[in-house]
């Protein structure tokens, strides 16, 4: 029997074959992958995983593909950084940064989900891949499609910043800029996905695509020495990443690779687009969609597909959610850079800002083993911080001038 059992409806439980479908025919609920855990349990072990490749594919037994990875062989297995300086600043004894700013090849956690999506798309016989995106996802799909020699369509809203457009164009996919507002792009893409036999990674391939995020949980457990953290702080856009980190931790427990998981799952959003965090704070089990307005554009999903499930996942683990202002996002980016030497994109600023809030509120405690998920690279969102980092110190090319500017004494330098 194969490791994948079926696709199963998250709402009514009806099962489907593992094809390119994403919505239950019966109730229109979303589908997700169901595994044969009993069978996987027979062969999986810490030792087997540890002797696997230095990529997220060392967890292939828990990923929804049938054969070997054919796309994105180097994604994942990014550093787990013991953040002593930031921990000391925040008052945490054991803080870690899961650093996906250096994920291969496009510097965000999306390389994980896309590696799974395109490997599965190939297995299902697709030659064309597509996605609708405002940034990281499009970059990753375009890069992987180029490397895999697949035809690629990337749909983007018409008002995107130049840098984000370039990050797609360089790989030469078909970049389709849709005239109209965000809602128009949304509706058009979902209709195109229904009309063409393409692998739309975040639509008809979504059940497989989303599973790639579990590898962040697997790596966390392994890199912490086969234990789950007490607290996880996770940025949310659609909410998929958060729900899959929870699922990944649970799978580690189910397969007996670690003991009982007690990790509290915490969600982070920006104030300008916080439908999920707002619902959580108001004690609601449903969210109200919003029109996004924040510099954290990679998290700007106003009507998030997995918002409901993210609320549920956080509540079930006794976790919390919060949101931060754009100013706090910038402060968060700077704080992480200046304490740990890691330059994160705006989503990372959101995570650090919310981490800080949760510590201040006493929700995350000094002794809690805490992992903050930093999911994208700061070089991609330079606009967000360009006015907040000062300028270089400009001097004439003379030693005297240098010494004077930096008030050099006998024992070395001061600051300008």
């Amino acid at each position: 029997m194969a490791k994948m059992k079926a696709l199963i409806c998250r709402e009514c439980g009806k099962e489907y074959p593992t094809k390119a479908i994403h919505v239950c025919e019966l109730c229109f609920g979303p589908l997700e992958v169901k595994y044969n855990y009993e069978e996987i349990k027979q062969t999986i072990s810490r030792k087997k995983i540890e002797s696997g490749p230095h990529s997220m594919w060392r967890y292939i037994d828990l990923l929804p593909v049938e054969g070997a990875p054919s796309v994105g062989p180097h994604a994942g297995f990014t550093p787990m950084v013991r953040a002593k300086n930031l921990g000391a600043f925040l008052g945490l004894d054991e803080l870690y940064i899961k650093n996906d700013t250096v994920n291969h090849p496009t510097l965000s956690f999306k390389d994980r989900v896309v590696a799974v999506a395109l490997t599965r798309a190939r297995e299902l016989g697709f030659e064309t891949v597509a996605c609708a995106s405002t940034g990281n996802l499009a970059n990753s799909v375009a890069a992987h499609a180029a490397a895999a020699g697949m035809r690629c369509y990337v749909f983007i809203p018409g008002d995107l910043e130049a840098a984000k457009v370039l990050g797609n164009l360089i790989y030469k996919p078909n970049v389709v800029e849709v005239e109209g507002n965000y809602d128009d792009v949304n509706r058009l893409c979902s209709e195109i996905a229904g009309e063409h036999k393409w692998a739309f990674v975040n639509i008809n391939i979504r059940p497989y695509y989303a599973e790639g995020s579990k590898t962040l949980a697997f790596e966390t457990v392994e890199q912490l020495g086969w234990r789950a953290p007490d607290q996880a702080v996770i940025p949310m856009a659609s909410g998929s990443l958060l729900t899959k980190i929870k699922k990944g931790l649970q799978e580690m427990e189910t397969l007996g690779l670690i003991g009982k998981v007690k990790t509290k799952i915490n969600g982070a959003q920006a104030e300008g687009c916080s439908p999920i965090s707002t619902a959580f704070k108001e004690g609601r089990d449903f969210f109200r969609p919003v029109k996004p307005k924040t510099i954290a554009k990679s998290l700007a999903i106003g009507n998030p597909a997995d918002g409901y499930y993210a609320l549920k996942a956080t509540a079930e683990t006794g976790g919390a959610m919060d949101m931060v202002s754009d100013e706090e996002v910038v402060e968060g980016i700077k704080l992480l850079a200046q304490t740990e030497g890691i330059f994160a994109e705006t989503a990372g600023g959101v995570t650090i800002g919310v981490l800080q809030k949760l510590v201040k509120q006493g929700i995350i405690k000094k002794g809690d083993v805490t992992v903050a998920y930093i999911t994208g690279n700061g070089l991609k969102t330079q606009e967000a911080v360009i006015d907040a980092v000062g300028r270089p110190v400009r001097i004439q090319p003379s030693l005297v001038n240098f010494e004077k500017t930096f008030k050099m004494g006998k024992n070395g330098g001061g600051d300008a």
Binding site: E11, H22, I156, N186, E191, A237, F286, G302, P304, A305
Partner: protein, 79 residues
């Protein structure tokens, strides 16, 4: 005959109106509600509209004119 699936939301003041019934009468589309959650102050339905493509689009416009919000069944797909 094409079918399209939508997630529609009702603002509080529209919850009591028989909007789905009206749409089925005003446009040549068959409406089929598959899942719904209607409470006192909020409500949504996952619904399938079957008909000619142009007529479905007119029905969606009609729904919007009546003040309900219409999204793809997948919600936001741009991420």
């Amino acid at each position: 005959m094409p079918s399209l699936r939508f997630h529609i939301r009702f603002p509080e003041q529209k919850i009591k109106e028989p909007i789905i019934y009206q749409i089925g009468h005003e446009y040549k589309v068959v409406t089929n509600v598959r899942r719904a959650d209607v409470r006192e102050t909020t409500g949504w339905m996952d619904v399938e509209l079957t008909g000619e493509t142009g007529e479905i689009e007119r029905a969606v416009e009609g729904l919007r004119k009546k003040g309900v919000l219409v999204d793809p069944i997948e919600l936001n797909v741009v991420e």
